[in-house]
Assembly symmetry: C2
Homo-oligomer: 280 residues x 2
């Protein structure tokens, strides 16, 4: 199999390492050609054997078996027109964290080839050196609007995701973006807000002394670099703002209960929050 | 050494298991006597060898080498007067998550014996069955207002915390509560708010599909039972409300930047949040 990976960071790098491992186990041939606008990342990706070759010409990928887009979502939107001459046989998958604007922008010529996916995996780290072949294992990938795919490309994409150990869910792109705003994008915004609020008030020594597991968990994703997240916030603006509004409302409910010392009601509110335990 | 543990849940149980392990390694004798108002917890604590004996009479503890208070903070406040006849030789340590009201309420008779401590460890679980002998290992314990302690009791307490693998920090109780509001109590409130906001909007299937590591981390402490946290919110009300206000302000900064599409400014705001990485 020949695979082109556009974007050799955490997501692309981890994908490559996972796939290489699988193909090695099966003793099958796999060649990966990488593209990244960051020269340092290209060098690192070659050294880490994430990619076998580097190119800066996207047309080198258009006849491969698979093209994977693992760049921030606005980058995906920009690059889509350049993929419209891809072969009928090439399956294309994007890993973007928002889906509605991407599915709208897929050129008609490659709509049947193009599987819109959101792997629910990641860390606060970035770049090829953060790549981890176990990143996707056991995690969920959401495939969107698969009714627009040619069954053979869909099947191919599903096999690739199963090869790297993922569980497959299906969702409409519009619903995906609404849900993702609440379950992924808003929590990231809140983690950034938490970090900024603590850093403004607290001295580093107090943070170090008092940061227990709770704070460490809540602030981990506040270490995520802006590039990817600015794009996500841009593309999912409306859903995101409705989610932060809903969160603020819950915080205000909490504040009012504490302010008015309504401990019984506060206990009920906490018990409702505890119900998450039944799901996750 | 003879130790009385008041409260045989996650904190008391984990403390007992850690100390037992250490004493076994050193081939020293350790006897633990436990008190818990929950009969089921008493039975479980005996079965799990967290405690060697159970009593319901606090006077049974007043001549021991060490008394540890591992109950919610309002429980500590209530029980303090019953400890005032403890022996001069008995070191008393509380594990409460707020410190100012506790240090104010320590009876004068035992002020020199009483080491006010906040171990920065815990999980969202509770009860003796959640006890874990590694819970405290490598974590920080904050000791407050140690200038009020007899040096021999302070030394004894410090040795106990070192025995269970903790790193010791010192802080004024008033400062502790202010810092803890930002770094521990407010984040818990936010995690509850996040859980409630998501549970209201989302169906369980979508949560399950889309919950990546970020959401799981942010919502883990939303599973914490109300008993302990209501007490903390009560005792640290003023600091807590100032912390939630500061967080809401940061969320509003975020919302305004997204609303007005000020991506450059948003990027700077995120980079500031990323600086947490330099501390933690």
């Amino acid at each position: 199999m020949k695979v082109g990976i556009i974007g050799l960071g955490l997501m692309g790098g981890s994908f490559a390492l996972a796939l290489k491992r699988k193909f090695k186990q099966r003793d099958e041939r796999l060649e990966i050609i990488g593209i990244d606008h960051n020269d340092q990342h290209c060098l690192e990706a070659l050294e880490l054997k994430i990619t076998d070759k580097i190119t800066d010409d996207i047309t080198d990928l258009l006849e491969l078996d698979l093209i994977v887009l693992t760049i921030p979502v606005n980058g995906i939107l920009k690059i889509l027109p350049e993929l419209k001459n891809a072969s009928d046989k090439t399956t294309i998958i994007d890993f973007g964290s928002t889906k509605e604007k991407i599915v709208q922008a897929i050129p008609q010529e490659i709509r049947k080839n193009f599987v819109a996916a959101h792997p629910m995996a990641g860390t606060e780290k970035s770049g090829p050196t953060a790549a981890d072949r176990k990143l996707y294992r056991g995690k969920v990938v959401v495939l969107c609007n698969t009714e627009d795919n040619d069954p053979k490309h869909l099947k191919f994409a599903k096999n690739v995701f199963r090869d790297i150990g993922m569980k497959i869910f299906y969702m409409n792109a519009k619903d995906h973006d609404k849900h993702a705003a609440y379950i992924s994008h808003m929590p990231h915004a809140v983690s950034y807000a938490l970090s900024n609020s603590v850093m403004k008030q607290e001295n580093p020594k107090a943070v170090l002394a008092l940061a227990g597991g709770g704070f460490k968990d809540m602030s981990r994703i506040a270490k995520s670099a802006p590039a990817m997240w600015i794009d996500i916030f841009k593309q999912n603006k409306t859903n995101l703002l409705s989610a932060t509004k809903s969160l603020k409302k819950e915080i205000e409910t909490f504040e009012n209960l504490v302010e008015n010392e309504e401990w019984e009601e506060l206990s009920k509110w906490i018990l409702k929050a505890n119900e998450l335990h039944n799901i996750l």
